[in-house]
């Protein structure tokens, strides 16, 4: 149960993920939009429901006029006043007393009395759902107890005439503007980094392999930052491969021409047939080794398919390599001890690992002093085996510790003409790296120690 929960937790994006940024942004935006249109819409509606100041002044003025007319002449005054009003306003106008009876000389009709049962004040909101025009009751200004003016609101004072306009503004234009802002934000957040990647890809097309992304793009914590870093890593690898290839081509042309020119010389100068045959045989052997090693290095570098893996017991592997090495170098087996226990099993490709270890061993033997010992040892390091092969040679310069793994590297100290092309260690490193291991060298003071880190069984 808990493991299932943990597993589902793990499937969630990390805390720096773009997911959270986007989620927060969009949720905040949605809430803002809802609040905005709700509160603003209400505000605007309310604003639009009340009579304008102009309407109030005019209508209050009418009420004052009606009161004055009543005070002056009673019924007749109201009649005359209503007469003038009818010319000014097209809607119904009346003056009523507190008993809801007309103050003019004409009594109210039934429908009119009916309407009088619901009258609005001047400062009441006018619902936009009302049918027809609302009737307003405006009490006399001086003595509200005497009577009121009742008027059907003239069309021109009807509030909410700009309602459609305001509705477009609050429900259309403003959300549209905010969405535009959101789009700009998202564009800056998501698309700008992609544009940078595109620019870099274009730079590659123009063969500018040394261009890198800006610091901003690679230091981001989210997925786009990861993408940027992966992109940078890729360009680094691409540049490395290109440099390596050019270097390889240059070295190869040199290395291939040298034995050819030696063959040419032998062909021209050697008189004795058996000697010529001997020399040809030697040169061809060397050349074949060179071609095979170079091709293998190129294949190891080019081939990306995973090697088939198996469990390998280091002791048995060492026995096998030691037998070959002793035969090749005339060393007694006692000078090549293995201090590993029988439980040292690694997971890797047998042929690749054997070749890597064999190349390292050959290198160690070649640089050992007379009577020197080459020893294999190691210890378990978590899910890995950390192995090291130690010789008692002179060691190498600290600056060259990394350089010896580059192809065609022959250090000044190495004896010339001993058959090495400087490919052994680069093949070894490639072979180890292809089985998820790593290979590096270190000076111990007593000699060179080559470290191998390989996945344990």
């Amino acid at each position: 149960m808990t493991t299932g929960f943990k597993a589902s937790l793990k499937r969630l994006p990390g805390k720096h993920s773009l997911f959270w940024k986007l989620a927060c942004l969009l949720i905040a935006f949605c809430l803002l939009m809802i609040w905005l249109s709700w509160s603003w819409g209400r505000y605007m509606e309310q604003q639009n429901a009340y009579l304008s100041d102009e309407a109030r002044v005019t209508l209050s003025g009418y009420a004052v006029g009606a009161e004055q007319a009543w005070n002056r002449d009673g019924n007749a005054g109201v009649d005359a006043w209503l007469q003038t009003m009818r010319q000014r306003e097209s809607t119904w106008v009346g003056v009523i007393g507190n008993d809801l009876q007309s103050l003019s000389s004409y009594p109210l009709s039934d429908t009119e009395s009916q309407r009088l049962t619901f009258l609005r004040g001047l400062d009441w909101p006018v619902s936009r759902h009302i049918k027809g025009l609302p009737w307003l009751k405006i009490p006399f200004a001086v003595d509200p107890g005497v009577g009121s003016l009742v008027i059907e609101l003239p069309q021109r004072f009807m509030p909410g005439r700009y309602q459609v306009f305001w509705r477009v503004v609050t429900n259309g234009v403003i959300p549209g503007l905010f969405t535009l802002l959101l789009c700009i934000g998202l564009y800056r957040l998501l698309i700008m980094p992609l544009n940078q990647l595109r620019e870099q890809a274009n730079a590659w097309r123009a063969d500018q392999l040394n261009t890198r992304l800006s610091h901003d793009a690679t230091s981001r914590q989210d997925e786009l930052g990861e993408l940027g870093r992966a992109f940078d890593h890729m360009s680094e690898r691409l540049q490395g491969t290109m440099v390596l290839q050019q270097q390889l081509l240059r070295d190869m042309s040199h290395e291939l021409r040298t034995p050819l020119s030696r063959l040419r010389v032998a062909c021209d100068s050697e008189q004795d047939l058996t000697q010529l045959r001997d020399r040809l045989g030697r040169e061809i052997d060397a050349m074949q080794r060179l071609v095979e090693d170079s091709l293998q290095l190129a294949w190891l570098d080019a081939e990306r398919a995973p090697l088939p893996k198996e469990d390998i017991q280091l002791q048995a592997l060492w026995d096998m390599l030691r037998e070959n090495a002793c035969y090749e170098s005339d060393w007694p087996a006692s000078r090549l001890p293995c201090l590993l226990a029988t439980d040292c099993w690694v997971r890797g490709n047998l042929n690749a690992l054997a070749q890597a270890l064999e190349n390292i061993l050959r290198n160690a033997i070649r640089h050992s002093p007379d009577g020197g010992v080459v020893c294999l040892d190691g210890r378990r390091d978590g899910a890995y085996w950390h192995l090291w092969l130690e010789d008692q040679g002179a060691g190498i310069d600290e600056r060259d510790l990394e350089r010896i793994f580059a192809p065609f590297t022959r250090l000044d100290g190495s004896r010339p003409g001993d058959g090495g092309f400087g490919l052994g260690l680069s093949i070894a490193r490639n072979a180890v790296q292809r089985q998820d291991g790593s290979l590096w060298a270190e000076n111990t003071g007593q000699g060179l120690r080559v470290h191998l880190r390989l996945p344990a069984r």
Partner: protein
């Protein structure tokens, strides 16, 4: 030890390079094989179907029909052993060759000695396959020596099992059956691991290393698997003499 006692073993060589083809033709002829040389893939396929050869030796890049297609067509009707030769040395080419049913894969350049060892290894394996299973049971029951158990796939010596794997057992059994005789790596690959031998393939050497360790662990020292440099392996009791 050539198996074909009746007449010379016949070989069909399909190779388009005139220099190499002529040389192989001449050299194998001198070694005692009856060689037919053909320079075209299509023609070669027809000849291989029409006549009974012991081994077909074939280049991969051929005019007409390439070697892998010839092999595919041939395998539909014939089980004749095929050795592919190619200058394409990549592992992938080797694997696709074996998957299509090649018996061996010889990367160019190769020496004539190497070619001959490969051909003999295949002929010998074919001859062994044809022979009825040998009855060597009494030999295995030798009280003081190693006891080989065909059912357990393991060897037994002084109350202890060595704990061999299947391949190790097959290898030891083959060496044991031909004790004191040097068996070439090419033959051992054919017979024990059922595939061709490649210079960078170390599986056989690793099996030998494990057999030695396991025999030593059960205290067996009468005979041991020895390396004969440039030739192969032998199960031998003598300290010297080879």
């Amino acid at each position: 030890m050539n198996p074909a006692a009746v007449g010379l073993p016949s070989i069909l060589t399909i190779e388009d390079d005139p220099v190499l083809g002529a040389y192989v033709h001449e050299h194998l002829g001198r070694c005692g094989f009856q060689v037919t040389w053909c320079q075209n893939g299509q023609q070669g396929l027809e000849m291989a179907r029409a006549q009974a050869f012991d081994v077909v030796l074939m280049d991969i890049l051929l005019p007409g029909l390439d070697g892998l297609s010839v092999l595919t067509h041939l395998r539909r009707s014939h089980s004749i052993p095929v050795i592919l030769m190619s200058a394409l040395g990549a592992e992938a080419d080797r694997i696709s060759g074996f998957r299509l049913g090649a018996d061996d894969y010889l990367p160019k350049p190769f020496s004539m000695v190497e070619l001959r060892v490969r051909i003999e290894a295949i002929l010998r394996r074919v001859a062994l396959d044809r022979r009825p299973a040998p009855t060597l049971a009494p030999l295995r029951e030798d009280a003081h020596s190693l006891r080989l158990d065909d059912e357990q796939w393991d060897v037994f010596y002084q109350e202890r099992w060595a704990g061999l794997t299947r391949s190790e057992y097959r290898l030891l059994e083959t060496l044991h059956r031909n004790a004191e005789e040097v068996l070439s790596k090419a033959f051992l690959y054919q017979q024990v691991l059922q595939r061709g031998y490649a210079p960078h393939d170390r599986s056989l050497d690793m099996h030998v290393s494990q057999i030695r360790r396991k025999l030593k662990a059960i205290g067996y020292s009468e005979r041991e698997v020895r390396t004969v440099w440039g030739k192969g392996y032998v199960l031998s009791g003598h300290d010297d003499g080879l």
